[in-house]
């Protein structure tokens, strides 16, 4: 009997049965997959740029607003705390309304917060502002969700890694661009206190523009937007609570949240403390210290994508086992390098160790999101949100415990201790086990071929 074939939409990129791309071609804009990739990383880049646009201008802002060291520290922690809640909320939001709507809404609603920098004149307002701007980092979750919806499992690690890696460069670039903008504005004979406020008009314009681009040119899925997707009988209509609960009770999400807290979280903390560390310990000047800090952030351009590529290659050869083993190995090496960083006594030795450390810790972040798409299909957003949120929790915890003013030990001891906690908190990866694919030490317990569509409801 002849079955009438559905007209297949033509994609300029090879796709699998779900129409997810099986190849990753970053310089091709014709397919919705690659358009989604560029929109995702670019809008996240603008959010990172906005969030990290304040630290480089702090020497001027702190005198202008009469901030104390406590205020500055609290504001730094507030900016990460804001993103903890928003990342958790972004997960279910993506599951329900789709990544395009969720990320554009966030970009366009947080841009006014950055515009409000023009109004602040007290320490409390400053702390509140950094808390609210931190919300925009939730776009990380939507970008990873979007990549996982558009790219097939053989390239999803790569897509996630490159998107997040290129976007993270925004934090490094802000350290270089904002002081330049400020100096440029001052050339027009504008007084310092007004010049820095004017400089803060630029990041939110960029952010709003990327939000609008996502709305205009993006789509949630290869075949169209969430609103228009056909629900087959195999995919019952999702309820908010079911999706949320299903994700929260999956232990793998919690473990990945913990390990991400000690690779990405450690990376965020290092971004915050590294310039001052080099300035104080090795007496380099402020510009050199800033350059070192920016280098650490900008290494993301290559190191995080490398993590994603390694995850995909290991996945191709060894399946999930390969992905888990490579994640554990890379993050453990990162932890060892972190311990070493606190112990090295020479400037160039420290720079060398710091560069190696940046490569491994950022690759570990990329490798983490090579595993996340496999944890749950139904609650992909919730799992992405839990993991992403765990990253910022890790940043807040390490900063509070090891690098706040009330510590009795030096920064270098703090760095070594941070490395030790990384080693400890990476061990739970050994506990992750997928019944159909296995874990680090055990093989699969059910036949992969026996997977049918009912399994969709199990995950």
């Amino acid at each position: 009997m002849e079955v009438p074939s559905k007209t297949q939409p033509l994609f300029s990129i090879p796709v699998d049965s779900d129409h997810k791309a099986t190849e990753f071609k970053p310089f091709d804009l014709s397919s919705p997959h690659m358009r989604a990739f560029h929109l995702a990383w670019f809008s996240l880049f603008s959010c990172f740029f906005s969030t990290f646009s304040i630290p480089p201008l702090l020497p001027i802002i702190r005198d202008d607003l009469n901030l104390s060291d406590t205020d500055v520290g609290n504001a730094g922690i507030a900016s990460f705390a804001g993103s903890i809640f928003s990342r958790l909320a972004m997960g279910p939001a993506c599951d329900l309304v789709g990544p395009r709507m969720a990320s554009a809404t966030l970009s366009l609603l947080t841009a006014p917060v950055v515009f409000s920098v023009a109004f602040i004149s007290s320490p409390q307002a400053f702390i509140l502002l950094r808390f609210l701007i931190g919300f925009s980092l939730a776009n990380f979750v939507s970008s990873q969700f979007w990549m996982s919806s558009m790219f097939s499992s053989c390239v999803v690690g790569r897509a996630n890694g490159v998107a997040a890696g290129w976007a993270n460069v925004g934090s490094g670039l802000a350290q270089v661009v904002m002081p330049l903008l400020y100096t440029l504005i001052m050339r027009f004979n504008v007084q310092s206190s007004m010049a820095w406020r004017i400089a803060f008009i630029v990041p939110p314009i960029f952010q709003a523009a990327t939000g609008l681009m996502v709305l205009a040119f993006g789509q949630d899925l290869p075949d169209g937007n969430y609103k228009h997707r056909r629900r087959t009988s195999k995919e019952p209509k999702q309820k908010v609570f079911d999706v949320l609960f299903n994700g929260l009770k999956n232990y793998r999400g919690w473990i990945l949240g913990l390990t991400y807290g000690f690779c990405f979280g450690v990376e965020l903390t290092t971004d915050n403390i590294i310039a001052e560390y080099f300035y104080d310990r090795f007496n380099v000047n402020m510009d050199m210290a800033g350059l070192i800090a920016a280098t650490f952030g900008m290494a993301n351009c290559v190191s995080r994508p490398t993590g994603g590529v390694v995850s995909d290659e290991m996945g191709k050869r060894f399946g999930i086992r390969g992905r888990l083993w490579s994640l554990w190995l890379v993050q453990t090496v990162a932890g060892l390098l972190c311990v070493l960083l606190g112990r090295v006594n020479s400037l160039w030795g420290s720079i060398l160790v710091m560069c190696s450390f940046s490569l491994f810790v950022q690759a570990a972040s990329g490798l983490t999101f090579g595993v996340v798409p496999f944890v749950s299909k139904r609650s992909l957003g919730v799992i992405s949100g839990m993991t992403g949120s765990g990253g910022t929790v890790g940043a807040v915890v390490t900063q509070l415990l090891l690098f706040s003013g009330s510590n009795k030990f030096s920064t270098q001891t703090g760095i070594s201790l941070m490395g030790l906690t990384m080693l400890l908190c990476t061990l739970p990866i050994t506990l992750i086990y997928f019944p159909q694919w296995g874990g680090m030490f055990c093989g699969p317990s059910i036949e992969p071929d026996s997977i049918n569509d009912d399994y969709y409801l199990l995950v």
């Binding site: 841009a111 006014p112 515009f115 004149s121």
Partner: protein, 205 residues
């Protein structure tokens, strides 16, 4: 008496030599041989960019004559007392003058003369809001600090004045901010509205 007369200058000379030997001059090694007065009364609030300070300085004659033979230039600076340094590590007082952050703003630099020195200075626009005092450093020909004087006591707690900075806020900036923010939010809702209309139109077909 003669020994005492020789002692101070030789001590000063020796500390200069040690400084150039080790490259590090400490504040505690300097003697307070200059008398500095400034026009603001204790607790007076000066507006940045508008108000003026008149500073006068001279050599303290109670010290042995000849003590100031090495002084070549004098630099007057606006400095932070402890009250402005609380919980602000970037203004910290450190004995090593190369690392000391107490005095961050230069008022004037002039060649040294032992008396009749004065200068009127308009408080610069970029001076932040804080409490201040004025300190003068005397430099020798190697441009190394050799002595100082200040308007406050050794505890840096008396005779302090305040500066009120210019606010960077401006009506035009506020308006621009509001307009851009409104555009951002309105464009989001505009898109929602258009999408709803499209769905309704396609449903009606």
């Amino acid at each position: 008496m003669e020994f005492r007369g020789l002692f101070l200058p030789s001590l000063l000379l020796f500390s200069c030599l040690t400084a150039t030997c080790y490259g590090m001059v400490t504040f505690s090694s300097l003697h307070r041989t200059l008398v500095v007065t400034a026009s603001p009364t204790p607790g007076q609030v000066l507006k940045a960019g508008e108000d003026q300070i008149t500073v006068t300085w001279s050599f303290n004659q109670t010290f042995q004559a000849g003590t100031d033979s090495t002084y070549k230039t004098v630099e007057l600076k606006l400095c932070y007392p402890p009250i402005s340094q609380v919980d602000r590590a970037w203004r910290k007082t450190v004995d090593d003058l190369k690392k000391d952050k107490t005095c961050q703003f230069k008022i004037v630099a002039k060649p040294y003369s032992s008396s009749d020195n004065s200068c009127t200075w308009t408080v610069e626009r970029d001076i932040p809001s804080a409490t201040y005092f004025v300190r003068a450093y005397a430099y020798n020909s190697d441009n190394v600090e050799v002595a100082y004087g200040q308007t406050t006591d050794s505890q840096k707690a008396t005779n302090l004045f305040e500066v009120q900075a210019i606010t960077g806020r401006h009506v035009s900036l506020d308006i621009a901010s509001v307009c851009f923010s409104a555009f951002s939010i309105l464009s989001l809702f505009g898109f929602f509205f258009m999408e709803k209309r499209k769905t309704r139109a396609s449903q009606q077909k």
